[in-house]
Amino acid sequence: MLLAQDCHVALQGHVYDADTREPLAYATVFVLETGRGVVTDEKGHYIIPNLCEQTAYTVEVRHVECEHQTRIVRLQEHTTLDILLAHTAALEEVVILEKALQLKAAQAQSEVSRADLDAGQGTHLGETIQKLPGVALLQTGATIAKPVIQGLHSNRVAIVSNNVVLEGQQWGAEHGPEVDPFTAGKVTVVKGAAGLRYGVGAIAGAVVLEPAPLRETAGVGGWVTTGLNTNGRGGVAAGAADWRLPGRNLAFRLQGTVKRSGNLRAPDYWLGNTGAAELNGALLAEWKSGHWQHQFALSSFNQRLGVLRAAHVGNLSDLAAAIAADTPRNNTNRFDYAINRPYQQVRHQTLRYNAVYRLHEKWKLNAQYAFQYNHRQEYDIVRSATNDRPQISFQLWTNTLNLSLEHFAIRHWQGGLGVQGIHQLNFVGRGGFIPDYNTLGGAIWVMERWRRPPDPWEFELGLRYDFRRSQITTRGNLFDVDTTVQFGNLSGSAGAIYHFSKTWSATLHSGYAWRPPQVNELFARGVHFAAGTYEEGRAGLQSEKAWNSNLTLAWNGARGQCSLTGYYNRIAGFIYLEPQDYAVLTVRGAFPAYLYNQRDAILRGLDASASLPLVGGLSLEARAAILRAHSIAPDSIGEGSHREWLPLIPADRYQGGLQWTSRRSGPNSYVRLLSTTVLQQDRVPTFGLLAPPPPAYFLFSFDAAHTFRIGKNTLEAGLHLRNLGNARYRDYLNFFRFFADEPGVNAGIRLKYTFL
């Protein structure tokens, strides 16, 4: 007699490392009888639904650096099975060392959740990280967004993709990061002085993108995704395919992304000339052979971005008229995919070669060479219809070579030391604004980490010395510079983590980082039209030196987490644009003069985030970010000093929402409603502001996703709605706030098919 079987039983649990008891992400849990497998997420969690009762299943658990485990289970009901995987000495220890040294840095950091990463990859890097507490965006329209970490951005934040620090014209407020979020399997924002790991310039932190590890079982696998957005009538298609050859020593990944969108729409009008087009590709290869492991990566990023026509102004009178107008002036108020002048054309290519040689059971040598080419062209509005050339063109060639000697735990200490070299060539040519330069630099660093589980303490100490020498030469009718500048400084970092329990921990970090003045701060000269200012560099500027401390309290429970970070960042010689008391007369009229200057500055704040389970699959999420930043200005009379608020500091911001996650289908099936409140920024400098900061605003967003199983593969479907209420608002950190409202409601869908 055949009884109808109940096949709705789920097997779920966590996979842990047997030695460290840390959750293992990317472990494969495979059920032989059904031929279906899943991969553990960043918390080591997995779920296999729709198994049958009273049936024997062979469950095989594998992870790249561990011996696989097999269990036979016979289920009566939903079962939790936790698995511990042990390292085995027989496997390539090179891989084990990689994992050990990638321990969480002993400083405040936040990782973008899987859901936010999937939902945000189709737009730009800013969209994936902006939900993290302490992160804001400095925008030029909706297509150009630069990360702001605890109030600082551009040259004070490093963007790292696949272990290469991005080198481009990042000094420019209108220069968005040239990186494709689809290449990242994991995005982390490190807060506080990150100079030790990422070099000169990471004084406020870093945004670190890491690709997902290459497939480890032989065969072909990958994913394809498409997305559509109503606002801008845009579409995106991306895909990656991994191929590991039988023998398991050689693997490749080929990846591509294409995006196209047209004019965005604010609640009352179209934003003329805000279309965008992007085409990116990447190739990764990995080869293991005996003691060696080689990695090779090539990537190409190509983007054309329309710049809001209404933001193009000739002089101060035009700008004043634009600020006073209710609707954008000179605006093409209709939808169009065409990208006309003014527009930006950006190209960034990276080549990276990395070799690891395992010297010994506990030691390895690491060498990396990276080449980057960044070409940024600005096509401005011109008189002649036949002029098809850019008005300014920046080309930057960067070569870096990193060598390091690292070791696994020796008496509970692990770390290493290394040297880095960098050569950079910048060519602007007749375009002006900044001169050409040739920079040579180097660094030497040492870092050690102490940990001895189950001891609750962990410590990290590091020291680094960097120097940079630049020859700056431009001869032209408009620009005449010929000088050499040199900067060198120590930076260091000390951090401690204390684990109160399995779920509670505290991290204290203090770091000293520095940044040499950038070429634009030393030698820029010209009118910044969208800001209505004439800006000039100052050749005698010294390096900025920052002492940044932060304390984080974190709770990581099974179904929730919360964290609170308090930080204090003191920057000596903070470089900023200081308004002068005279105007510069140009052929377009007078512009107030701003000269680069430096003063001490203090930035302090609080970032908090929480995700707390309620009833059923419902959870509450909340976030807050508060920042107070001022510089110490000398009094005009007398010997004292007073505080001046720094410009362009993010206003206080709060988020609250509800999420419902399906218990049966796992963390990738959810519905979420989120509200964001950004207050009016009242703490602004006393002069130099063209218009009062925009008022506070409230936004609502809705996200939903579900994962379907199709044989061994999965199909994730997602829906997102941004600015649900079609609110009219402007943001203080968007340069276009003088000209137009932010985009209105946007509905988007995405589909991601993962094949194994």
Binding site: G239, W243, L254, V313, P390, L478
Partner: protein, 177 residues
């Protein structure tokens, strides 16, 4: 096997994004106005040019501005020329502006009644262009005249001077004696 074929099909996508990183590219073309010339002609073979010049572009040395000196009770014709003297040879932008006359408009604002400025010059569509003007002086005195060139103004608006984008905005001191 077909999975590997699917993999190979992605290769041409990447091949299309090859490197071309090895040359310095200075094909930029900046449009710069360094010089505005007001060329006056009138009775008694009066023929004089007055210049507003900023030869090194924005910043650097301050612009040199001629004072326009005119006789009282005179009617003079004025033609406005625009040049870029930073290029070699000097680029005459006036021709480009005349070629795109429909997208341009010259505006003259005298500061007081020391001079009265009128114009009949029109663009290719018959709308105001004002590249040539008539200046009428009466009594002796001093003042200034603000000369602007607007790009893509709305010529049908009530005040075209408040529309479009400013290509140049210069002020000449004027003395009538």
């Amino acid at each position: 096997m077909h999975k590997q074929l699917a993999f190979y099909l992605l290769l041409p996508v990447f091949a299309a994004l090859a490197f071309s990183a090895c040359k310095k590219d200075d094909k930029t073309e900046q449009e710069l106005i360094t010089t505005i010339e007001l060329h006056f002609t009138g009775a008694n073979n009066f023929n004089q040019k007055f210049y507003w010049k900023d030869l090194d572009g924005d910043g650097g040395a301050a612009p040199t501005i001629d004072t326009i000196v005119l006789a009282p009770n005179a009617t003079l014709n004025c033609f406005t020329h625009v040049y870029d003297e930073s290029k070699n040879p000097t680029l005459d932008i006036t021709e480009e502006i005349e070629a795109e006359s429909a997208e341009h408009l010259f505006i003259y604002n005298p500061s007081s009644s020391v001079v009265e400025i009128t114009s009949n010059s029109v663009d290719s569509n018959g709308n105001a262009f004002r590249i040539s003007t008539e200046w009428k002086t009466t009594a002796t005195g001093a003042g200034s005249v603000r000369v602007r060139l607007l790009h893509e103004p709305d010529k049908s608006a009530a005040d075209p001077g408040a529309t479009g984008e400013t290509d140049f905005d210069v002020t000449f001191p004027v003395v009538v004696r």
